[in-house]
């Protein structure tokens, strides 16, 4: 059980941008570390745990960053869950403070971005690469296209229903000045008329790469009470890894979101109907539909109709990705996934500026990695 033992007491963020200039990933990580501890009202000297992701070309990057940030750490980890990394970091930090491995753990993510770079991904060293890359099976787009095509075939979901997710999330981004697409409303026609990249994925259903950073500070519930309020409780967490390549997934149209979310809900002893905000990974529109139904927010196969029937804006009947989602906020590498955590924390603390969801008590945060193969769910709660 994690409830009552782990809490989030600080967040930091460097908003997405298209060009991070001459800043390095390590610089962004350092600056977001500072923002995060300041938010909690503590200093880096108070931190005894650090969780980061793979940072390009850095060997033992987590250890190097302990030294660079001037820490003495009793818990250090590097998480490698692709898009689910942010949520998985918070889950690991929560387990570390709950068991006493450390008391105050920083989770840091960052990515640089230069305009025009990079092109298609280079070949990786995975065991499946030689059976996919010769056929053009490279990058994430084609995998999600395969999933979307199969899902639409099984459930009759329409292109309009998928596009609806992008449109409604854009409405949220238009209330968030930090979003990369702030001030640029979107219509269904805009999405459906945007170029087809890989059938059935239109350009505007695919996430926008940016540079930026995000940090989350996790500590024991006891220590959190002495820090700057309001504290956000970690009430439940769940994880499930089902596959690496979409081709070999046990099932393409029902995802591993289901077991991850079920575990998190059971641990938190709450149910989907109790949730007031969903902050769910959205690399593509199809990802959101699968997550909503596999986490239990609507019956299987109904997510297309669900998003049409509900108002997903911050002030609607089913607030979803109130920062705009990565589709409209921007995906700063691994920090993109972490933005779903920071937004939920901000909302539970009642400090999401003009888009604050009123009287919010419980949020469902979800991270998705790879080609729907790595799933991490968190249930976060406000302290009232």
């Amino acid at each position: 059980m994690i409830a009552g033992r782990a809490a989030i007491c600080g967040i930091g963020e460097i908003a997405p941008r298209r060009d991070t200039g001459n800043q390095t990933t390590v610089e962004l990580i350092s600056r977001v570390a500072d923002l995060t501890v300041r938010d909690a009202g503590i200093s880096l000297r108070d931190v005894d745990g650090l969780v980061v992701h793979q940072i390009r070309s850095m060997s033992m990057g987590a250890v190097a960053l302990v030294e660079m940030l001037g820490l003495q750490a009793s818990f250090v980890d590097r998480v490698d869950h692709g898009g689910a990394t942010g949520a998985a970091m918070v889950a690991r930090a929560a387990m570390a403070v709950a068991t006493g491995a450390c008391t105050t753990c920083l989770c840091l993510t960052a990515s640089t971005r230069l305009p025009g770079a990079p092109g298609p991904r280079v070949a990786d060293q995975s065991p499946t690469a030689e059976f996919e890359e010769p056929y053009g099976g490279i990058g994430a787009n084609y995998g999600y296209a395969l999933i979307a095509r199969r899902y639409m075939h099984e459930y009759g979901t329409t292109p309009e229903q998928l596009a609806n997710v992008a449109v409604q999330q854009r409405a949220n981004a238009c209330v968030n000045p930090d979003a990369i697409f702030y001030g640029q409303p979107l219509t269904l026609e805009d999405v459906l008329d945007s170029p087809m990249v890989l059938d059935p994925l239109h350009l505007l259903e695919i996430v926008m790469p940016t540079g930026g950073a995000a940090g989350v500070l996790v500590t024991t519930n006891e220590r959190a009470q002495d820090l700057r309020p309001p504290v956000v409780q970690v009430l439940g967490l769940g994880e499930h890894v089902s596959h690496w390549s979409a081709t070999y997934a046990p099932d393409l149209s029902t995802s591993a979101v289901k077991p991850a979310a079920e575990r998190a809900f059971a641990m938190a002893r709450v149910k989907p109907a109790d949730i007031g905000l969903v902050s769910a990974y959205d690399c593509y529109t199809i990802t959101v539909l699968l997550t909503l139904e596999d986490a239990g927010f609507c019956p299987k196969g109904e997510a297309g109709r669900f998003v049409e029937q509900h108002d997903l804006r911050w002030n609607g009947d089913f607030p979803l990705n109130t920062h705009g989602g990565q589709l409209s906020y921007g995906q700063s590498g691994i920090a993109g996934g972490m933005s779903h955590v920071t937004e939920a924390v901000r909302q539970l603390q009642g400090r999401a500026a003009d888009r604050t969801v009123p009287d919010l008590e419980l949020a469902f945060v979800h991270g998705n990695g790879g080609i729907m193969g790595e799933q991490v769910s968190l249930i976060l709660g406000a302290t009232r």
């Binding site: 030689e130 059976f131 056929y135 053009g136 296209a145 395969l146 890989l198 059938d199 393409l252």
Partner: protein, 136 residues
């Protein structure tokens, strides 16, 4: 011009590519439990046995899902656009990633019966699939 990505076989995977050169589709089969496996492994994913043997399969299957690349997924494939990337479910069970050839991308449907087809590219032979049907 960037070259199309091609396999760099390992001792584990070489039998697949050697068979393809001979115009035959071969996959591993577990001698202990009978499960057909793709991609090549050291241990059976169904029972854990290490007694995996290469065997020829029919080359017949159906389209499980697919996408049409309207933009190249690799610079070396720019001259192939639009091309179909598909997951084919073999009659024997395993699924594999492939291209569909001899068909208009707009005519592809899930469930389409297909047959393995071999294309030599440099010193490699790729396994692709084409529709099964009258006149072919």
């Amino acid at each position: 011009m960037t070259a199309r990505p091609l396999p760099d076989p390992s001792p584990l995977t070489q039998p697949f590519w050697t068979a393809a050169k001979e115009r035959e589709l071969r996959v591993q089969r577990c001698h202990a439990c009978g499960t057909y496996l793709f991609y090549p492994r050291y241990l059976c994913t169904a029972c854990g046995s290490d007694d995996l043997r290469w065997c020829a399969v029919s080359g017949r299957g159906t389209v499980f899902t697919y996408t049409v690349a309207r933009r190249p997924t690799h610079p070396g494939l720019a001259d192939k656009v639009p091309y179909v990337i598909a997951v084919v479910e073999l009659a024997e069970g395993p699924k594999l990633t492939t291209n569909l050839v001899d068909i208009d991308p707009d005519d592809v449907v899930i469930g389409l019966p297909v047959q393995a087809s071999f294309e030599d590219v440099d010193d490699t032979t790729l396994v692709q699939f084409r529709p099964v049907g009258p006149g072919r």
